[in-house]
Amino acid sequence: MDELAQLILTAEKEVAEADSTAALARIETLYLGGKGSLQAQLRAIGSLPREERPTFGARVNAAKQALTERIEDRRSVLAGGETATRLAAESIDITLPGEPIPAGRLHPLTQTMGRVKDALIGLGYEFVEGPELEEYAYNFAALNYPEDHPAFDEMMTFYVDDTHLLRTQTTALQGRIMSQRKPPFRIATTGRCFRYEAVDATHHHTFHQVDVFMVDEGISMADLKGTLKQFARAMFGGDVQVRFRPDFFPFVEPGVDYSIYWENRWLELGGAGLIHPNILESHGIDTERWTGFAFGLGIERTHMIQNGVNDLRLYLENDLRFLRQF
């Protein structure tokens, strides 16, 4: 056995006995590295007779090839075992509490307004925002409130001066829209409203509303009823029924109070009706061609119904114990 054969045997034995990938890497360098033993054999080729050189060179290269394969095989065996050992050592208590990532939530009224928006945008309504500090003209006069009529109780209104007040209803947006746009249109708005009310579980001087109105050709009470049904379904789910009861609001004629039948009871939700022709005419809209409807809904009331909340005051008290439930 010549020196090369002896070298190969030793190398194979060492590879087989290597007990870690690190030891294997050292063996690899020892035999196959640039300064390794096999490379040294090649360098010594010059001392051989010329005719033996090709054969010897081929032997060395084949030995390098074979040894490389053996090392790779051995490495994959060792690496698998080492990974398993490392993973076992890295095992942790997976039942410890997760690292808390503080998360805030949106106020329940924001969430409800979001649902209202989704439902109405799906029905083709464009949302527009109006001011909370509103002009008397838009809050009352433009909505067909007769001067000094008992329907309009001044005592309920927060006035800032003779012509400005805190809006008592989001309906105040109607005049602003009609003075700028021509029909057809479908508009909705949500926001904060104010009325002098003694605060109790069902009344507050500050509350939130959504107001919806549209004007198009041939709009009737049937379109209103169908829209309310669709809207109520989106808000409350299930197959709701809608009921109309005559009621009076200066800005609608006929005017109704609408209820929905939900979870085995009738719930009064708000006022609705066909937009009063006086209002349309005051904006130069031909009432023979165009008619429209309007309806409103309390945001607090909606959330209370959806979640069984029984005290309106909770919404502006900002008790985190309440807010974090939604």
Partner: protein, 680 residues
Amino acid sequence: MKLPIEWIKEYVPIEASPEELAHRLTMAGLEVEETAESSVGPVLDIKVTPNRGDCLSVMGVARELAAAYKVDLRAVPHNPSRNEGETAPITAVAIEAPELCPRYAARIIRSVKSIESPAWMQARLIAAGMRPVSGIVDVTNYVMLETGQPHHAFDYDTLAERRIVVRRARPGEQIVTLDGQERVLNPEMLVICDAEKPVAVAGVMGGGETEMGPRTRTVLLESAHFNSLSVRRTSRTLNLRTEASYRFERVVDPAGVAAAADRACALIAELGMGEVVSGIVDCTPIPIPSRTLNLRPKRVTLLLGFEVSAEAAADSLTRLGFGVTPSGESLNVTVPTWRPDVVREEDMAEEVGRVLGYENIPERLPHGSSTQGGDSADGRFNSRIREVLAAAGLQEVATHTLLAPGPFEDSRTESSRIAIRSALSAELSGLRRSLLPGLLEALDRNARRGQSPLAMFEVGHIFHATDSRWSERTSVGGVLCGSLQPAGWRHDSKPADFHAAHGIVERLSDSLHLPDTDLVRSKDPRLHPGRSADVLLNGATIGWVGELHPRLSAEIHVRERIVAFELDASALQEAARQVRGYEPLSPFPSVVRDLAPRVPVELECAAVKTVVESVDTPLLEGFELTDVYIGNPLPEGTKSLTLSFTFRAQDRTLTEEEVTGALSQIRHALETRCGATFPA
């Protein structure tokens, strides 16, 4: 309004149970709020809408029921006296202000006996919520409840010249009303006078001097029609509301004036309370208006959304007392005198709809031109703000718009506070100029209840008065106290400080893709002077961030420091709208190098930033401050910063020489302009 059912049933022949009656009335538009028991059986408490003053009586309600049940209404029994009889010679009525009093009728009752009204009448009055007083007064109240027409009984012998003059009050004229109060009148008010002086405030309350009493022998009974607006204004000015004014403010049938007086007189005679003088003085200077309208059944069909025939429309209106005559394809409709609220076709469509029943209205969805739904630009932007802040760990709250003046608003803008006129309480006396007071109140409330973490925000409107104009803007504010991240098994809690609040502001500006904001020290008196800043965007102040001044935080129930911020959401929205460019991505690797300059301890980070940014090197892609160290072994008065610079070129891989060159430029700038040293 409370009415016993048995009284209503006297005028409408129906057998329905109280529950069914309540339901039918409610569905006809007269909402029954409650059905209570009384000595005369069940009593309906009906909420009458302001347009339906005609329903403020037994007859009015009976009329609605008769239409709903399709039965005939019975008339109120009375002995009509349409001539002046023996009344004219002994009294007279002169109306000097016919625009405020289109009709005034007087009847006289002689030999008045001071007896009580019968038990049945008293029982009905009590059931209806009125207090029995004396025979004739009870009769007038009874007839008011029955017909809706208020009356007043004067002691005839106390009237100067025993006659009535209806006129506007003279400036400063006075009267002592039945309640003993002295009232100062003005010419906007209508008064009933005798030959000399006011004896009643028309439609509101009688005077004390001419009030009938136990010794009254002769009574002058007033039944009149007054202008509703005038009564409302008078009642409001005098702050005096009565059963009479309540009705006159709404609707009283001008055609029923004499009939109601006759009904009262019939009852007085029947009950033996006195001897009714024949005849009536009925002064009607302005004829009772009659209104005839045109109604197209097709229009009713269009509005209600279901087919309504001419016959059905005519029948419905007739049942409510309207006069209907066909005229071609439409109907001529005469509106009854008790329905001044019906003035156009749509009003009649509602009447037809009420009688036919709204349950007949089908459900459809509007067709026609489709429209593009969507949220407003403001709504979308504010939703993004809310989502960013909630994701950053803050809970959204909703605080009051109305609030009392207090230390939590910026005293520098005190003059721009918008006050509520004649506010009823301090809490409701003005509009917020900042979200901070509400947020601090919410913080305090929750701190007292031991809640944590205390991190809240609000997006809401704030208000300022500027140069006689009002401004209403959307503001976003937040408040933090204590640790946002609670202590856990692997972290200690870290109380929120200025930098935490600043971090939230930076998160907001980063998430909304706003241009970089700058901070300058704030002079806001609400804030800690050393730990607060105004936030500048494109050079304009858009808000502030900082620690609450200890003077203010002492008022709040917390031990930790309170930090807060408030930004003008409208300004943020404006900035976010600007279009940003796109920077091509470099395929070449970046090189990161650190510098650790030692600088004077008072040197602000912003100064370092300015110097670095001013260095003219296109290779610098970005840099950040990764550490600040103060303390041993550094010399007193110095601190050590660690700055991490990223270099990159668009067109090549940088060489070591290029990077070193750029870095030494920066180093040089820091040495010369920030007094930085670089100890080995």
